[in-house]
């Protein structure tokens, strides 16, 4: 609040210097007058507390636009600066800035506090030595936790696993989803039914799908049973740390390729029919047609889908937790997300966990940052 009133004071001062402009500009004065009554009244209140304003209650009401604008000129002084404040602010930022504030300000404050405030607080905690049941000591800040994290082989392994999971899962889910979309787009019957079933796993919780795949991967499960018919296996899909990460990627692809299908399907439908026709007339084969003509037009769909998939992979915590029903994922499948929660909430190494969280955050940022820039420059926001 302190900063807000400071800004207000500053704007008032700016408004005073701009007095000549605002009073002569009848349109701005009208804008100021048409604003809601209570806000104007508040402005009146603050001016009065300055001690310089007099009792002009009816005029501050702002209901009569014309008289307001008119009287401002004759009254001069403080009233002018008051109308000027609104006018200048609205002139600078846009006419709906204050009036629409009740709509956007509460959500912005909530997001600001819970998302950005929390990330900053987390960054500060990561510089302390906070652990156990004490309170953090905010006056003893250093980078010890980062040194400890970056020299820990466990954290390095988890970081590598995070990257492998992120890239592997994203690429496979994109390619697989695109193939499904191409098949579904070929003018098939019962398209809605197929689409609905392909997208179904996406509506399930990680906790639920983890149970399914635990059973699929079990010694007596479907996969080992089917592979057994071919004379292969049995495999320890979860127990073998060489293949557990691939197993996790496979399960996640099962859950999310329906999503990539939906995204690509929408993109394919947006491509003009002539492009397909042209390729066909040229005598290109179906594969060539898709590769040369269609795939390049899917760029923006690919970009946004990969960002969403990468972020989902960073959140694969739920899946890994549910797979074992505990903080420690199967050997070979520990990622930064699980490592962070384990250090903080199981071992009470709060500062250490926060430092790992910041590393994870930076990884996410290296994906989101370029993406936002890309969307911004393409005017897609």
């Amino acid at each position: 609040m302190a900063t807000f009133s400071e800004v207000r004071e500053l704007l008032k001062r700016v408004a005073r210097t701009d007095d000549g402009d605002t009073t002569s500009d009848s349109e701005t004065a009208t804008d100021a007058g048409s604003a809601t009554g209570d806000e104007v009244a508040t402005d009146g209140g603050t001016t009065r507390s300055d001690g310089s304003a007099t009792t002009d209650e009816p005029r501050i009401d702002g209901s009569e636009v014309a008289t307001d604008g008119g009287e401002v000129k004759t009254d001069g002084g403080v009233q002018q600066s008051d109308g000027g404040l609104r006018a200048t602010l609205e002139d600078r930022v846009g006419e709906d800035f204050l009036e629409s504030a009740p709509f956007w300000l509460p959500p912005v404050l909530l997001v600001g506090l819970f998302v950005y405030g929390a990330v900053l607080w987390n960054a500060v905690i990561s510089l302390t030595d906070y652990e156990g049941f004490d309170d953090p000591d905010y006056f003893d800040l250093d980078f010890d936790m980062y040194v400890q994290a970056l020299t820990s082989s466990q954290v390095i392994d988890a970081g590598v696993n995070t990257l492998v999971l992120m890239v592997g899962f994203t690429v496979v889910a994109l390619v697989f989803g695109l193939l499904i979309a191409v098949v579904v787009d070929r003018n098939i019957r019962f398209e809605n039914t197929f689409r609905t079933i392909y997208l179904l796993p996406m509506s399930l919780s990680f906790v639920v799908t983890a149970q399914f795949w635990l059973w699929m991967y079990d010694y007596d499960g479907v996969l080992n049973n089917s592979l057994g018919l071919l004379g292969l296996g049995p495999f320890e899909f979860i127990g073998n740390q060489q293949i557990v990460l691939a197993s996790v990627v496979f399960a996640l692809v099962w859950q999310f390729s329906g999503y990539t299908m939906v995204v690509y399907l929408a993109a394919l439908r947006a491509i003009p029919t002539e492009h397909f026709e042209a390729a066909r007339v040229d005598g290109a084969s179906v594969v060539k047609m898709y590769w040369r003509v269609i795939v390049p037009q899917l760029k923006s769909a690919t970009v946004s889908a990969s960002v969403v998939l990468m972020v989902f992979s960073l959140k694969a915590f739920d899946f890994l937790f549910a797979l074992v029903g505990g903080y420690r994922p199967p050997n070979g499948a520990d990622i930064l997300a699980t490592k962070m929660v384990r250090e903080a909430f199981q071992n009470q190494n709060w500062a250490y966990g926060s430092a790992i969280a910041i590393l994870l955050f930076l990884m996410a940022l290296s994906v989101i940052g370029p993406y936002l820039y890309y969307e911004y420059t393409n005017d897609n926001l």
Partner: protein
């Protein structure tokens, strides 16, 4: 892709390419449904039958509903708890998202894009980066130590439900706002402008024009958001912590159901998975189109 006649012809004609196409589609069906099918089959088997019969084939002599009876009795309190926070948090985040999208899209002031960038980034931030401060914040606020729980005679663990409502509302706002924004961008601006010229305030224009026209998007957002919040485990885990807590949500209990029982009772686990997924499955079956829209935007 081709004219209507050709398309119709293509649909009903039998040629090798079409057969291959439908075989592929069928293969994909098997891929997507196999884990669910084996889950259904296994949830209806006794532990003995699970060990002796094929995982994809139902067993007649090993048929039982005990798994579901146990799963329901274990998970029902958790489902009630999940509903207690998922419903308010869904509605609140959708409303706030709509407000934010309106104030940042259909009104006229500079700097909207900057705020929107922060919202989009907010969707993608890994929640691990806010968990420790979040638990600190709530321990400082001390909701569970308030006298109101004693006065109402409610277990103070239910403070966790309040915390989950606040948390899910706050972290749900960015995605809801972006979903609404994509919808509002396509809305006719003329109508709004003429309303504003007629002297309607920003608030009035929302209540009379934008909100009523938002109904289809509210359906999409509410469905998407409910699914997300119901399915979440992470926030429940760090805010409620113990699966034995009176306020434990269903995902927390299900994740523990595997750990507390002997690891081999897959029938019970599968039954538990279906019971826990029931509300989201119901929502998906009833509103699949809206869900797909929410996902695709």
């Amino acid at each position: 892709m081709s004219t209507v006649d050709e398309a119709a012809e293509e649909r009903f004609s039998i040629n090798p390419a079409r057969v291959g196409l439908y075989l592929t589609l069928g293969g994909l069906l098997v891929f997507f449904l196999a884990p669910i099918e084996t889950g259904v089959v296994t949830s209806l088997k006794t532990p003995d039958a699970v060990g002796t019969t094929s995982p994809l084939v139902p067993s007649v002599e090993g048929f039982t509903l005990d798994n579901y009876a146990t799963a329901v009795s274990e998970l029902l309190p958790g489902m009630v708890n999940s509903l207690l926070y998922a419903v308010p948090a869904t509605i609140l985040s959708a409303l706030f998202g709509s407000f934010a999208a309106y104030g940042l899209t259909l009104t006229d002031w500079r700097g909207q894009i900057g705020v929107l960038l922060l919202f989009v980034a907010g969707i993608f931030i890994p929640y691990q980066a806010v968990l420790v401060p979040l638990t600190r914040l709530f321990s400082v606020l001390g909701l569970s130590t308030l006298g109101i729980w004693g006065l109402l005679g409610i277990d103070n663990a239910y403070a966790g439900i309040v915390e989950l409502i606040i948390t899910h509302t706050a972290y749900g706002i960015p995605i809801c706002a972006i979903l609404f924004r994509s919808y509002y961008k396509g809305m006719s601006e003329e109508m709004l402008e003429s309303a504003r010229l007629d002297g309607a305030t920003v608030r009035r224009a929302y209540r009379r024009i934008v909100f009523p026209l938002s109904t289809p998007m509210f359906a999409v957002v509410l469905i998407y958001q409910f699914t997300q919040i119901w399915n979440d485990l992470l926030f429940a885990l760090v805010l409620v912590q113990a699966e034995s807590s009176a306020a434990a949500p269903v995902t927390l209990i299900l994740a523990g159901l595997g750990a507390s029982q002997s690891g081999t009772i897959f029938g019970l686990r599968m039954a538990g998975a279906f019971v826990a997924a029931l509300p989201t499955l119901a929502v998906y079956v009833l509103f699949g189109e809206e869900f797909a829209k929410g996902v695709a935007t």
